[in-house]
C-alpha cells in the first residue's frame, strides 16, 4: 500500500494578512503534505496570497461560512483521491507543528475523525466566560449523545478520513461545524477521538464570532444538535 495522501484544507475568509505566514509555516513544518486554500468569498487579497505561495486555491464567489469552505475542500479531496483531510485555520491559531499529532489516530486507523483539543490536557487556553459556558453546554450535549466526552467541540483543528469526507461532501452543517456535526458523525457510526494540542492567539484578521452571532449561535446549535440526535442518518 502506498503512503496515505494527506491534504490540509485551509478555509480562509478575508485572511490576506495571516495567510502567507501560515502557508510558509506549513511548508516548513509539514513539507510532505498537500495544501488547499478555500477562499470563502473574501473581499481582500486572500486568493492572491494563496496563489503567490504556490498553493491551489478554490474561490467561492460568495461567503458560505467555514462549513461550506470545508465541504468544498472535501469535494476536492475526494475527487483527487486523498485519504485524509486536515482542517486548519488560516488565522494562525493552529500550529502546523501539531499536524502529525492530529493526524496520527486517523492514519493509525484508531478513529475516523480526530480533534485537536485545547482541553484534553492543560494547555493554558482560557476563553472568555460566555464562550466557556457555551463550550461547557455543548460538550455536555455531545457527551450525552456520544456516551463519551469530547471536551473541545468547537476546535477547528481536525483530521477526517476518506469515509467521513465522502459523507460530508454532500451532508454538512452550513455555517460552523461543531457539536451538531460531531453528533451527526457519531450517529453514523464514525469513531471520534481527541488529541491534545496547544493553540495560539490569532495572528491577524477577525474572529467569526460577532454579537448577533453570539445570540443566534447557541439557539441554532442547540436545535441542530437535537435534530442531529433524533434525525435518522441518511
Amino acid at each position: 500500500m502506498n503512503a496515505p495522501r494527506v491534504l490540509v484544507v485551509v478555509p480562509a475568509h478575508n485572511e490576506e494578512d495571516s495567510l502567507p505566514a501560515i502557508l510558509t509555516e506549513l511548508r516548513e513544518k509539514a513539507p510532505g503534505v498537500d495544501v488547499l486554500v478555500v477562499d470563502d468569498g473574501s473581499r481582500d487579497g486572500t486568493s492572491r496570497a494563496a496563489r503567490e505561495a504556490g498553493v491551489p486555491v478554490l474561490r467561492h464567489p460568495v461567503n458560505l461560512g467555514v462549513g461550506g469552505a470545508l465541504q468544498t475542500g472535501f469535494q476536492w479531496a475526494v475527487e483527487r483521491g486523498y485519504d485524509v483531510a486536515v482542517q486548519l485555520d488560516a488565522d494562525g491559531q493552529h500550529d502546523p507543528a501539531y499536524l502529525s499529532v492530529v493526524l496520527a489516530p486517523v492514519l493509525a486507523g484508531r478513529c475516523d475523525v480526530s480533534i485537536g483539543s485545547r482541553f484534553v490536557s492543560s494547555t493554558g487556553y482560557r476563553a472568555p466566560l460566555n464562550r466557556r459556558l457555551g463550550m461547557l453546554l455543548f460538550s455536555g450535549i455531545v457527551r450525552l449523545a456520544l456516551g463519551r466526552p469530547i471536551s473541545d467541540t468547537t476546535s477547528g483543528f481536525r483530521a477526517y478520513n476518506r469515509a467521513v469526507m465522502r459523507v460530508c461532501q454532500y451532508d454538512f452543517p452550513k455555517d460552523f461545524p461543531d457539536a451538531p456535526l460531531l453528533i451527526a458523525l457519531a450517529r453514523r457510526g464514525f469513531r471520534l477521538d481527541e488529541v491534545p494540542v496547544v493553540m495560539r492567539e490569532r495572528q491577524a484578521g477577525r474572529s467569526f464570532y460577532t454579537l448577533g452571532k453570539q445570540l443566534y449561535y447557541p439557539y441554532k446549535n442547540l436545535l441542530a444538535s437535537l435534530m442531529a440526535l433524533i434525525r435518522k442518518p441518511a
Binding site: 474561490r59 467561492h60 465541504q71 483527487r80
Partner: protein, 125 residues
C-alpha cells in the same frame, strides 16, 4: 341578494382586485404559476366569504367567532401564515441549492483555469 355590510363589500372587492392583480402578474411573467396558486385560492375563498352572507354567518357560528368580519380576517391571517411558512421553506431550499452551486462553481472555476494554463498537474486521479 342579501344585505352586505360595508366590511364585507370592502373585503370582497379587495379580494377580487388582488386576484386580478395576481393573475396579471402571471400574465406578465413576473410571478410563476406555482406561486400564484396559493394566492388565487386564498383570494377566492376571501371573496366568497365576503359576498355570501349565509355561508359567512354559518362558519362564524360553527367556529364560535365574535363577528362575521372576524371570520374573514381569520381566514386571511391563516393564509398569510401559510404563505410565510411556504416562502420560508422555499428560501431554505434555495439556500441549500445556492450553497451547492457555489461550491461546484469554485471547483469548476479552478478546473477551467488550470485547463487554460494547459496544466494537468492537479487533475483528478
Amino acid at each position: 341578494m342579501m344585505f352586505l355590510s360595508r366590511t364585507q363589500v370592502i373585503t370582497a372587492l379587495g379580494a377580487v382586485l388582488l386576484a386580478l392583480f395576481v393573475l396579471d402578474l402571471v400574465r406578465r411573467r413576473r410571478l410563476s404559476e406555482e406561486y400564484s396558486l396559493l394566492w388565487v385560492m386564498a383570494t377566492t375563498v376571501i371573496a366568497i366569504l365576503g359576498f355570501s352572507t349565509p355561508l359567512l354567518t354559518w362558519i362564524t357560528h360553527a367556529l364560535g367567532f365574535m363577528g362575521e368580519s372576524s371570520t374573514t380576517f381569520a381566514f386571511g391571517l391563516a393564509f398569510s401564515l401559510a404563505m410565510l411558512l411556504y416562502l420560508s421553506l422555499k428560501l431554505s431550499r434555495l439556500g441549500f441549492e445556492n450553497h451547492a452551486l457555489t461550491r461546484d462553481l469554485a471547483l469548476l472555476r479552478h478546473e477551467v483555469e488550470s485547463l487554460r494554463r494547459g496544466g494537468r498537474e492537479d487533475s483528478p486521479r
